[in-house]
Amino acid sequence: MSHHIVEVKHLQHIYADGTVALQDVSLTIHHGESVAIIGANGAGKSTLLLHLNGYLTANSGEIRIGDFPLTKKTLPEIRRTVGMVFQDADDQLFMPTVFDDVAFGPFNLGLPVDEVKQRVKAVLEQVGAAHLQEKPPYHLSGGEKKRVAIATVLSMSPDILVMDEPTSGLDPFARRQLMGLLRDFQHTKIFTSHDLDMVVELCQRTIVLHKGIVKADGPTLEIFNDDALLAECRLEKPLSMQGCPVCGKGR
């Protein structure tokens, strides 16, 4: 199953204004893994994600998705393999109706209309948004938008799901609903998030980015039990791992 591996070697990215977003990042993610990339604001998380589907070009370093190195030639195949869900669903939904939005990717893959219709129906049912099919995206609630945004990516049958801050801006119920949905996906999953409780629940492995380098990479629980590391990287334990703030139990 080597074709689902994400391999990043010595990636460096410097923005045009001189900001060094990624200094030297190397990591390997295997098939079926669920990995969280965490770090303070400005640690380089979003920049790293934008490299994974070739939107940004590295100053140096190499990225391989499956058997292909990321180059201009392999870009179309890589963009199909790596499904990217953006932080702001409004950036992802740009067509007049939910149907058109979800169908956008499959149409670009050159699928025939009937196949596209079937796919759209199937993925909208999967994310629990079948009833929204003919609605305009801007009339949906935050949770609905997020689910539709995920559907737009799922409709392209990606092998790897990359999500930037999936739970940000959602109410507790919508957040739970989304987490349940993500847990059921069999894809290789890569998240960035400040929602550390979600990370504990969904990701077995966590990578900590700090000032553009990989500060730690290991099992999620181990990382969150390293107080010194968390403090250095401007992070803290997830609430579920802290004691009760009222009775003090578990501290």
């Binding site: 179309p76 963009r79 199909r80 790596v82 990217m84 007049p96 169908a103 956008f104 670009n108 990516v153």
Partner: protein, 270 residues
């Protein structure tokens, strides 16, 4: 800033109307685009003092809108919005062109007024036809049809992006303007001075947002081609539609329909 938000939503409604299902919606987009083009060319081809002969042309927008189940009030409101622009184009005509054209009792109407009214009427007809075309076809399909009719793809994609950019720009504009309004406490804020940076800021923000949207499109395999779910071919129905309407337009162009109707009515009465 409800007005800007409202205007955007109102425009988006036009796209939504296109998802309807009617005799007109089901026609191939190319037929509708061609017919609208013939309509616009015929209306524009009249000489500048023509006024009465234009009225019978309302038959096309009225019939299409009603067969396409478009809400009349909504379309009329959209058209009214562009009348001031047409008036600006024609407002100098009455000043420069003072040649007497008709005299109705004590009122003398100059050629300038006639040509100004003609400009407004033509705008109403052509813009109305264009709105209705989008309302029964959808902007995406209109662009697709243009491409299939031979327009270079670069042009149609630019057109589509321009259309999308209107929404991005107005949405960001509404946000910026709301933020300014809320902090100016009902007064003028910093007045005109605050608009310079606001507009500069707006440009950068819309640019960044447009880039993010473009990124989302690229991530989903966008290669410069838009597809629509409507599958249709150019069959006999379409041919009949284009030929039928074109014949009506040509007849109305050759014969002054309004005068002809007038003669008919006076003939019956006398």
């Amino acid at each position: 800033m409800r007005s800007i938000d409202g205007a955007v939503l109102d425009l988006k409604r036009l796209d939504l109307l296109a998802t309807g299902d009617s005799v007109i919606h089901r026609l191939d987009a190319r037929a509708k685009v061609l017919t609208t083009l013939v309509f616009i060319v015929t209306v524009v081809s009249f000489n500048r003092y023509e006024f009465t002969a234009l009225f019978p042309f309302f038959i096309y927008p009225v019939v299409t809108a009603s067969l396409g189940n478009l809400p009349g009030g909504y379309i009329v409101r959209k058209i009214i919005m562009v009348i001031p622009f047409a008036f600006v184009v024609g407002m100098l005509n009455p000043i420069f062109d003072r040649e007497l054209f008709v005299r109705i009792g004590p009122f003398a109407i100059t050629g300038g007024w006639i040509s100004c009214a003609s400009i407004i009427l033509r705008t109403v007809l052509t813009v109305g036809a264009a709105f209705i075309l989008v309302g029964v076809t959808g902007f995406l399909s209109v662009c697709e049809a243009l491409e299939r009719l031979g327009t270079p793809r670069t042009f149609t994609v630019q057109l589509l992006f321009l259309y999308r950019y209107i929404f991005v720009l107005t949405e960001e504009g509404a946000r910026a303007s709301r933020a300014r309004e809320l902090r100016s406490c009902g007064r003028k804020g910093l007045g005109l001075a605050s608009f310079g940076p606001l507009i500069g800021h707006l440009l950068i923000r819309t640019w960044l947002r447009a880039e993010r949207i473009h990124m989302a499109m690229l991530a989903r395999g966008f290669t410069g081609e838009f597809h629509s779910r409507q599958v249709s071919g150019f069959g006999w129905r379409e041919l009949f539609y284009v030929a039928g309407w074109s014949a009506v337009f040509v007849v109305l162009r050759m014969e002054n329909g309004a005068q002809w109707m007038g003669r008919l009515v006076t003939g019956v009465l006398s």
